[in-house]
Subunit: 250 residues, 2 copies
Amino acid sequence: MSGWVRIAGLGPGADGMVTPEVSGALNAATDVVGYTPYVARVCPRPGLSLHPSDNRAELDRARHALRMAAEGRRVVVVSSGDPGVFAMAAALFEALETGPKPWRDLDIRVLPGITAMLAAAARAGAPLGHDFCTINLSDNLKPQALIEKRLRLAAEGDFAIALYNPRSQARPEGFARALDILRETCGDDRPVIFARNVSHPDETIRVVPLSEAKAEMADMRTVVLIGSAQTRIIPHRAGPIVYTPRSAPV
Amino acid sequence: MSGWVRIAGLGPGADGMVTPEVSGALNAATDVVGYTPYVARVCPRPGLSLHPSDNRAELDRARHALRMAAEGRRVVVVSSGDPGVFAMAAALFEALETGPKPWRDLDIRVLPGITAMLAAAARAGAPLGHDFCTINLSDNLKPQALIEKRLRLAAEGDFAIALYNPRSQARPEGFARALDILRETCGDDRPVIFARNVSHPDETIRVVPLSEAKAEMADMRTVVLIGSAQTRIIPHRAGPIVYTPRSAPV
């Protein structure tokens, strides 16, 4: 029996958004590693070892997974959403690149999942129905100046924008600054969607014009979507539908 | 019994990437509408009417779905990938906004799916592991000048880039132009991934430096991913792993 690693996306939360491919990998695994709340979403069973770990321990967790696979174990590294979007896939490949050469012979695959921005967009309508940019507002691993530059360019290009990790207690001011930057270019009326805990029982979707968007409306469980200049709102009994048309004017 | 519409993403092709939520909607449906090759992916069964239609008939198809739901039918509009990314969700909401007012009382939901760029990224490694832009190169519904502006801004911001609909017989020159624009800013070494028919039996993943990327390497079944300046390649027995680290230098 030879070991393997699967880096799997659990989607935003609901079981109905976990792909059969990911469920199959979890059924075949001997070990699951990941951030504690994500590992808690995996059903325990005999023969399956769960290895929860803290946030910000991504590289250690990745090395642990690779070491176990090298010992012949079948390891699933779980992420929320999609593992390739601000999640464990990049961390695992960083660990692979800097780790022992024999790790490169391992059978490693990424299994995609429903990422937060697309789950949020589906709940709100189709705000990302045209060209869009996806930006991680966390400045843990990149300079704030780069974040601000990208926000300005995204606004200048009239992209719709998805913001991950808008706000943490460690840096409450970054998201307020981001909103200010967007207001400079996008004006007051641009629809902003605050989607929190999408697909969980306490999901909330809030749509406000950019002029009324406040940093306090987001936390680390929120993904924020900002429309383009073309984005429209349709009143609907279940809440406003926000969508960006497929066409852009000449 | 009251009607409804579900706008559902079938993912890139493999059954293992269809979410249980989408499968459940198809099992509960009375009618499925969509572009012919996507409707062909739905299992026929007694009581289910399939309504395949041509490409570029998106608005007619959307109106057909809404009309049937208003008559009490349970209608699934199928898209490949995710319905919110260059697919049927925006078309359906365009039809809703311009259609009869009673349609706004309908029960309408978007069910997300695995979109092509994330399936392709998973196969290649984690090229979209940091900030990225998603651009539809089709100029059917937007001016070529806007496409070029967005490409320039995305490159200037050092985003990774995902390109949908890179090339059709109707406009073979647009993608060649896009590659030229990217070469101006990104230089020759930037990794480019041509991912064709991801998750289908004839899937191909090809990684070349930007200097060697040619328009002929893509067709309408290809999604093209371009790395950022930080993107790295790890040699691996199953083909090169392309990933963009989580951190950006100060």
